[in-house]
Symmetry: C2
Subunit: 326 residues, 2 copies
């Protein structure tokens, strides 16, 4: 990437969720901001939940904290330097999930959001308020304002995705994932407009099934991607046939998707073929998959995908933008 390629008004849209998505978004934000462009992040809300009377939006908050520079980088979610004064009280009262920590600083956001929702604000409006606290260098939008859940269906019953993911560490074999409410959901205000007006659209290296999957399942959203004038590039969340962050392999297996860079590319599909991708970034470890990705009608780009520090993460964002001509 050279500065010759810069367009002051470059409008970039990122679809993202989870830890990987929020990490990638930080690097992308740094790059887009330096270019004087505009970044809009469309964030998964499929694993939102009500817990202890509070509305939690885990992916939105991870994204918010990451872009604000206050995320706990060690654990990948929550606020840096958080404490558990309230959490210990909630445990003493027998409220909530004892395996799902709500840190004190984090609780501030949950209480603020819930307060605003109770006042009648939409989730979008609440998220708009949350992001006024810091200069994020990006606009953060939820995929939808509709309440959508992610349930994990097991042989023995069903549970909320967060229980399966956090409590059981994805060790219980799922039959399938379901997103109750998603068929009746609509994209949040601004989402389709951002996609239609974008110069580049990126799909973060997030879990394809439970982070990106719900976004694409919001009626009208995938159609918006297919109709967009911008090209769409994704970053593989699989490096060397293994998920960068644990447990995505289980999700892929349940969805019938091979846990490979090419497998996920095929799952998303070529835009020319009714899918969503024009280009796909695969890791150097997976260079051999480039041909089979190309055979899908998706331009493959071999790049270093490990986001092990801010420099590498930003370089990955640059590579993604370059793959779609920016």
């Amino acid at each position: 990437m050279t500065t010759d390629d810069l367009t002051v008004s470059t409008r970039v849209v990122l679809l993202a969720g989870g830890v990987g998505g929020s990490t990638f978004a930080g690097g992308l934000r740094d790059e887009v901001r330096e270019r004087g462009g505009e970044l809009t992040v469309v964030c998964n809300t499929g694993d939102d939940l009500w817990l202890s009377g509070l509305r939690l939006q885990p992916d939105v908050d991870s994204m918010l904290y990451s872009l604000a520079g206050v995320k706990d980088l060690r654990q990948g979610w929550g606020r840096a330097g958080d404490s558990r004064r309230v959490a210990d009280e909630l445990a003493a009262w027998g409220v909530g999930w004892d395996w799902f920590l709500l840190g004190d600083l984090d609780l501030g956001a949950h209480i603020a959001r819930t307060s605003w929702l109770r006042e009648g604000l939409t989730p979008s409006q609440a998220i708009a308020r949350l992001q006024t606290r810091w200069d994020l260098g990006a606009t953060l939008l939820p995929m939808t304002d509709t309440e959508v859940d992610t349930h994990v269906v097991l042989d023995s019953g069903r549970m909320h995705f967060q229980e399966w993911w956090t409590r059981h560490r994805a060790r219980l074999e799922p039959v399938r994932f379901e997103n109750p409410g998603i068929a009746a959901s609509v994209p949040a205000p601004g989402v389709l407009e951002a996609i239609a007006g974008a110069d580049a659209i990126l799909v973060a290296p997030s879990n394809p099934v439970v982070s990106i999957g719900p976004i694409l399942a919001v009626p009208g959203l995938a159609d918006g991607l297919r109709a967009a004038s911008a090209r769409v590039v994704g970053v593989s969340p699989i490096i060397g046939d293994a998920p960068v962050r644990g447990m995505a392999d289980v999700c892929l297996r349940v969805a019938g998707v091979p846990c490979t860079a090419a497998g996920v590319a095929g799952h998303y599909g070529a835009r020319a073929d009714g899918g969503i991708l024009d280009a796909w970034l695969i890791a150097e470890e997976d260079a051999a998959a480039a041909a089979s990705v190309a055979a899908l009608g998706i331009a493959s780009h071999v790049e270093p995908l490990w986001m092990s520090d801010a420099v590498r993460t930003r370089a990955l964002a640059v590579a993604a933008l370059r793959a779609v001509g920016h």
Copy 2:
């Protein structure tokens, strides 16, 4: 009081609210517990409020913390050793009242209560759960499960009682107090039964207008007191023509009640005369008022009323029980 007077099954009911009420309740609980009796506290809920999406019951919580021995004795409310990790976050988010501190430990109770209410529990049921955490030596009942507010009507408008009391320190002259919803309220489950079955009924030295007033305004509750077989004794919250704890004088003035021990006795009235009192404890400083209290048809007892430590508080509870024959 001698042990000769003890009845193992003595059932005592206390009407109380606020700081003074929760302090008195602690001493009474110690005495009743040692006698092997049963104490039921009927607590004011008139200054409950929704704040930041959470249901606060300030008087219930003060009572709970006091009986549990975890109250901040210096400030008279809240949890001892509390902190403000979350409160600082809420301020940063612009949520809540910056002059109304919600401590971290305290927030645990607010979140627990709100969570249970959202699950469909009644306030009574939520309070029943809250008090299982500690051995209170008493049963704590709200006066009603109906949501009742206390508004302060001013020349310039109206505000919630907590805003007037805590933010403005009762310095804005009120026109009157109103309890929206109170006419349609009903006593909480167990309240009328406790009163009807009591051997002694005590009215704590709480604010007569905004703590005891709402309790007595719950339809059926004052009638229950008048019909009770037990005698009813009150403890004057006025010592030496001044409220023990600030600002009750403003409330009394608005209600047209002289800020004297006799004035408050007259406000409550003699049970024989359609009021609620059989006996009234007045301070040594107010001994001269004994005759005018007696003239109301209320037995007056001059006692040391300052609850300056646990020994004096318990002695006051003993004196109150003795005044109604226990």
